[in-house]
């Protein structure tokens, strides 16, 4: 903890420390920002509809490339992870799955950072990977 304070915001941000929960913390924020930027882009993209068929088709061509498909696959993955992990956080904030309170003994492992929570994070990552594969299948008509 002392080392964290000396490192400042870098210590707080280090995804290699505190296990998968810290990784989930970062993934939640990165996917959230990614989805917000995608959403803004999607609103702009769909507004091209008002300029007629030619404008719509030329905008659509951007997404019908390999790069476009990879981008959309990443969006699917971000969406599914953000949803899965978000539901985990909501359940946790409602007080479920946090473990029973007990006397703090060495090595002071927090009861709330338990296997149920870790499993939910891994399941969210797994579901995101599956959804990305399904999305690729739909986009490439497999």
């Amino acid at each position: 903890m002392e080392k964290d304070r000396k490192e400042g915001i870098k210590g707080m941000a280090n995804p290699g420390r505190y296990g998968i929960e810290r990784v989930a913390y970062w993934l939640m924020r990165i996917t959230g920002l990614g989805l917000l930027f995608y959403f803004i882009g999607h609103i702009y993209e769909t507004s091209n509809l008002l300029d007629g068929k030619a404008a719509w088709n030329s905008m659509l061509e951007l997404t019908q490339t390999t790069e476009g498909h990879i981008f959309l696959t990443l969006v699917i993955g971000m969406c599914v992870f953000h949803t899965g992990n978000g539901i985990r956080l909501m359940i946790g904030q409602a007080g479920f799955g946090l473990g029973k309170p007990s006397r703090a003994d060495y090595p002071y492992t927090p009861k709330s950072l338990n296997m149920k929570g870790k499993l939910c994070i891994y399941v969210s990552i797994g579901l995101a990977a599956l959804a990305m594969m399904y999305g690729l299948g739909v986009m490439y008509d497999v």
Binding site: I9, R29, G32, L33, L35, L36, F39, I40, I43, Y44, T46, S47, L49, L50, D51, G52, K53, A55, W56, N57, L60, C79, T83, G86, M90, Q93, V138, M139, D141
Partner: protein, 121 residues
Amino acid sequence: MMSNIMRESHIMKIHYLTALIAVGFVIIHIMVRVTQGFANSLEFESVIANYKSIPYAIVLEAMLILISVHGFNGLRIILLELKQGNAYENAVTYGCLVAMIALIAYGSRTIIMASMGMVEA
């Protein structure tokens, strides 16, 4: 500050509620695309027909509002985690609020005009 108008606990409840309802609407939105065939559903005529269907236009408008509220409140939360202070917090809160209203207005313009057939030939 926003917390003067509304408690942070209430804002978090709105954040969670908008997320849960938006997930339902996004599932409908994706299912409409997938059931019509992904490529076919993106044809100009097909998309215009989607907008002209009033129930679907309502789903799109609801999604626009819910995701904008959730997204910009999420951005506000991330920015407030990085730095604190009255002036900064006010700037972030009102900045996100203005951006959210602007995005909803711009998206609503598309939905209303497309559903009324005000599209260039």
